[in-house]
Symmetry: C2
Subunit: 243 residues, 2 copies
DNA sequence: CGAATAGTGTCTATAAGACATTATACT
DNA sequence: AGTATAATGTCTTATAGACACTATTCG
């Protein structure tokens, strides 16, 4: 169907980042206010073009994470979400974006990056139920990133990526509650996380002081895959009382 | 970091397809023997460049599915696997591939496509345990596609995409067994699929004749998400008797 | 001692795993 | 009748969900 002289059309490649973290027990995503032409002034996911033809896409994601969010990718969870390539997604031309999901523990205040006039952690609940408009197809990407995070919380140890090096059971429970949007029973949560081999490793005799009884500390265990899984309480998607 | 005149480097975009089907109760993938330069003569996933700057990536996957595998994408399950963009993955230059996973029911014999000197369904077991070399990073892509299929069999109705319009419980069980590589107990399988609301819809009084008692027929039900999930018997990954 | 938070047990319902028998068709 | 395959029940074990009390620290 193609002849000998046909050459495939070149495209430009960007990476976009869905960076999630917990701030005061609620889920936040890092957004930037665009400082340049397409969608200038609108909120968008941090990201940018690959730097040169030899830059690996994953490396580009790490670089953007550092440049735009001032986060060290070597200690962060970072995984690919997918490629977004609708032909009309960017007015500048054919630009395909490879999106990454990053999970950050702490709360380093964001810095405005190169192309951003502002960067800030926004509650995802506000972005969705409120009416924050996102540039390009970034709403879709954020949505997909959230669903991936929600899903991976069930059967992987991803939740620990939201926590620091060590954490308490209550902190871990807050992660599940914030990402899933459900309150969990602390007694059942306690029983379930303890029952998964390799999920959590107790840390010495140290305890974290609180207003009440000090809490035991844990760190992420060796197991990446949770069996049995931590299942989400209710529906995953819409209708299920039917049939 | 970039100055005003800097322009991002263009890349070329391909789509590659992991097409899975069942042939005589064992899992097969469609592979082509490359007929042109890079890795000529080696086995590879079907795929090709996007046709022009206005072609949507998903449409390109559908097109390749038709051109290279003679399959009608409108009735097939087709979903994105991810983007593969290691800088050295293709000797022709910077070529990023967006991989798709396709699930086909029937057994239409493949046709050699444009750039392929041969196309054939190969048992995936042979590709992995045997030593079929795959071109580019296609082994990785096939691996990822397989794992996605295995995983989605657990909590979605993807298994029905391997079957025709209507199917028997035994046929559906063969899908799970072939993809997971485990034999399942027919009695427990029967109980579990029946217990998931919306998974299967019985089809009239029709039965499929066999050598023994004729089997009831079902079609895929309305529910895409399986609750409770059909969980894989053993380990998902390596070590779990520890701790 | 009272307030605050952590840590744990028990009972019940639902789902999983192992296992054997009955049903319907064909020859 | 014999063979082949489908359909289904029961018992036991594991996990999930609901729920309430005890433990440790601080002021």
């Amino acid at each position: 169907m193609s002849n000998e002289t046909w050459r495939p059309p070149p495209v430009l490649l960007t990476v976009d980042l869905v960076i999630l973290t917990l701030r005061s027990s609620s889920l936040h995503a890092l957004l930037i206010k665009r400082g340049i032409y397409p969608h200038k002034g609108e909120w968008a996911l941090p990201g940018g073009f690959i730097a040169d033809s030899n830059e690996d896409i994953f490396d580009a994601a790490r670089r953007e994470l550092r440049e735009e969010a001032n986060l060290d990718a070597t200690v962060l969870h970072l995984e690919q979400l997918g490629a977004y390539g609708r032909p009309d997604r960017d007015p500048r031309g054919r630009i395909v974006s490879v999106a990454y999901l990053a999970i950050a523990p702490g709360l380093p205040e964001p810095e405005a990056g190169t192309d951003a006039s502002a960067a800030s952690w926004r509650p995802v609940e506000e972005v969705f139920s409120g009416h924050v408009r996102l540039a390009f197809d970034h709403r879709q990407i954020l949505d997909d990133g959230l669903e991936l995070a929600r899903s991976k919380l069930e059967h992987t140890s991803l939740a620990t990526a939201f926590c620091g090096e060590t954490f308490t059971l209550t902190e871990l429970q807050r992660v599940y509650e914030a990402v899933w949007g459900f309150e969990l029973d602390p007694r059942n949560f306690y029983r379930k996380v303890q029952a998964v081999p390799g999920f959590l490793t107790p840390v010495g005799p140290d305890r974290r002081p609180t207003k009440g009884r000090p809490a035991r500390l844990f760190r992420a265990g060796p197991e990446q895959v949770l069996r049995p899984p931590m299942m989400r309480p209710v529906p995953r998607t819409g209708n299920e009382k039917e049939r």
